[in-house]
Symmetry: C2
Subunit: 345 residues, 2 copies
């Protein structure tokens, strides 16, 4: 068995930048994508870290994702920033919408950033944490692909539709959660399939709409929403707010849009920001201190706050760097040395 | 066994009005509370229908709820309507905040109604449906009492914190859900206790923080959130947004605030409205039609939309009136004939 490769955060950043430049991404996309991938690797979210660069490069080379796309920021309404990503990555679109979103949220109390026509392959927590770092409460959601059957249904229709929230905590890491509205992540079923293990019978349906404990049958069928009809309802809300409300695709349309059926992750995203200063005026600091009572009570009874493991990983990585499997490191290095022509250069 | 009593909607309305007037409620409160109670009874939500008047009268007589309170509407920010209920019912406060909320949502795209210091004893679906009836998407949430342990915890801390959403559908009943973030409603455990039945072991903990199948032990202990750590996180978000963010109480504070410990439901509420017209401009009708595709797909695979049973009950009640148990009817009539002095008259 090979050892993992340890990289400093600077080396991880440099590796990501070189891969993305080689693939033909504009410098704005190189920086935005690298920030997100390195942040995920730093927090030991391996599936959204450097590993994800393999898929991004493949998507760009297949020609769906435009690595040179210039996001267009539109002042849609006093409380809405619209960014048309023009089929580039969501990440640069988010970064360009962040300042006007903050400005609108602080003036109005609440504001929305709608991102259209973006390729989405990153975790949402880094975006809602960009808001809580600015003293705002943030929510984010997006459709994905039709992997999940609605409660009581038999076929995949809803996405795994992530829902993320972050709340600013004075002097500490924020209160942040970011969860898929499916029972488990799709990758979890994939891991069971590789290991030849059965899955619990409440994770998924087979292609006949029957509950299954076979991972292979589950992947060919439909995952189930978390929490039964309640999670199904929440996921449906995400489809509506981050789909039709912003003039963008539903999860079951994202796959159909792709000719070869591999289902590239192209859809919209909705981000909300709420300003404690606007809600509470001079009492906003008192409001944030009041919220601390809730966290103290949660921790005081031995429960943990979401993202605890991620924040612990972050502290470790900031001093010791990040570790990735040697095989992944080789695959990533190969992308730097690759001589495939750039699709959009 | 006694037969149920059937009342026309007009008679149900008149009965509610007479009870509330007799208890000393101002005419504004009489109308707002009656509208909500009769709407719930019409939709056969028995626990939030005429039955609920018994608790409202008791709460008013105990002196916590001010039946003459005049809600104060404050223009808190361009995107925030604040209504201080001044310890009256949430329902009149909501009705008075509705028009400015709609106006702000249509101008800005998104707006919030924050209600403070209200007594809350109604279902949220009637409020989010007031928004969808005006062509807006609506969300509503509030803390309740500390009945639910956080995931991984051992003691009641979070409320049953309802979360409601409604989406306008062209020419039909809206897409609406309204669920408690506990596994089941507290009344469900109470029903099991009365029937002497065991409860499933994932509903609640006993007062030692251990899973229990005994309803009595569960009522003395803590309920569990739906969907494990995901539902727990969602419930925590509701505590923060409808508590400290709006300068109002957390669930574990609402009970402590009441001297006799019976825990009157006095806290805040947060309502959000989003305007498809502001998000989509001339494409807003197309956006609503696009959403219909999702509902068609859900129904096409044999799943049902939330609130289906309620809308069917509504159609029945509009032609046939509502039925309530004879004993409840006698209890309600007794409130009309009661000669207890009015607390605030």
């Amino acid at each position: 068995m090979e050892h993992d490769i340890t990289l400093s955060l600077e080396d991880a950043q440099s590796l990501s930048q070189r891969i993305l430049r080689k693939t033909g991404f504009s410098e704005g996309h190189v920086e935005a994508i690298t920030r997100s991938m390195v942040a995920a690797q730093r927090d030991e979210c391996h599936s959204h870290g450097l590993y994800r660069l393999l898929g991004i490069v493949e998507t760009a080379r297949m020609g769906g994702l435009d690595p040179q796309a210039v996001p267009e920021v539109i002042d849609q309404a006093p409380g809405i920033v619209k960014v048309d990503a023009h089929y580039g990555s969501s990440l640069l679109a988010f970064e360009q919408g962040l300042a006007p979103l903050q400005e609108k949220a602080e003036r109005n109390g609440i504001a929305v950033l709608m991102i259209n026509h973006c390729f989405h392959f990153s975790a949402l927590w880094s975006e809602v944490e960009a808001l809580s770092a600015r003293g705002l409460a943030g929510l984010a959601m997006n459709p994905t692909h039709a992997f999940v059957a609605p409660a009581g249904g038999v076929r995949a229709l809803l996405g795994t539709n992530p829902f993320a929230f972050s709340w600013p905590r004075p002097g500490g890491t924020p209160y942040t959660f970011d969860f898929a509205t499916s029972v488990v992540a799709r990758g979890e079923i994939e891991l069971h399939r590789r290991a030849g293990n059965a899955i619990p019978d409440d994770w998924a349906l087979d292609d006949q709409g029957q509950p299954t404990t076979e991972a292979t049958a589950a992947l060919a069928g439909a995952m189930l929403p978390f929490g039964g009809h309640k999670g199904s309802a929440l996921s449906t809300m995400i489809e509506l707010l981050a789909g039709p409300l912003i003039g963008d695709a539903l999860s079951h349309e994202t796959q159909a849009a792709n000719e070869d059926g591999t289902g590239q992750p192209c859809h919209g995203e909705l981000v909300m920001a709420l300003s404690p200063r606007a809600f509470l005026g001079e009492q906003s600091e008192a409001g944030l201190l009041h919220a601390e009572k809730l966290f103290e009570e949660i921790l005081g009874q031995g429960a943990r706050l979401p993202s605890k493991r991620r924040f612990e990983a972050r502290a470790r990585s900031l001093t010791s760097g990040v570790s990735i499997p040697a095989a992944l490191y080789r695959d990533l290095k190969a992308l730097v040395d690759d001589n495939t022509p750039r699709p959009h250069a």
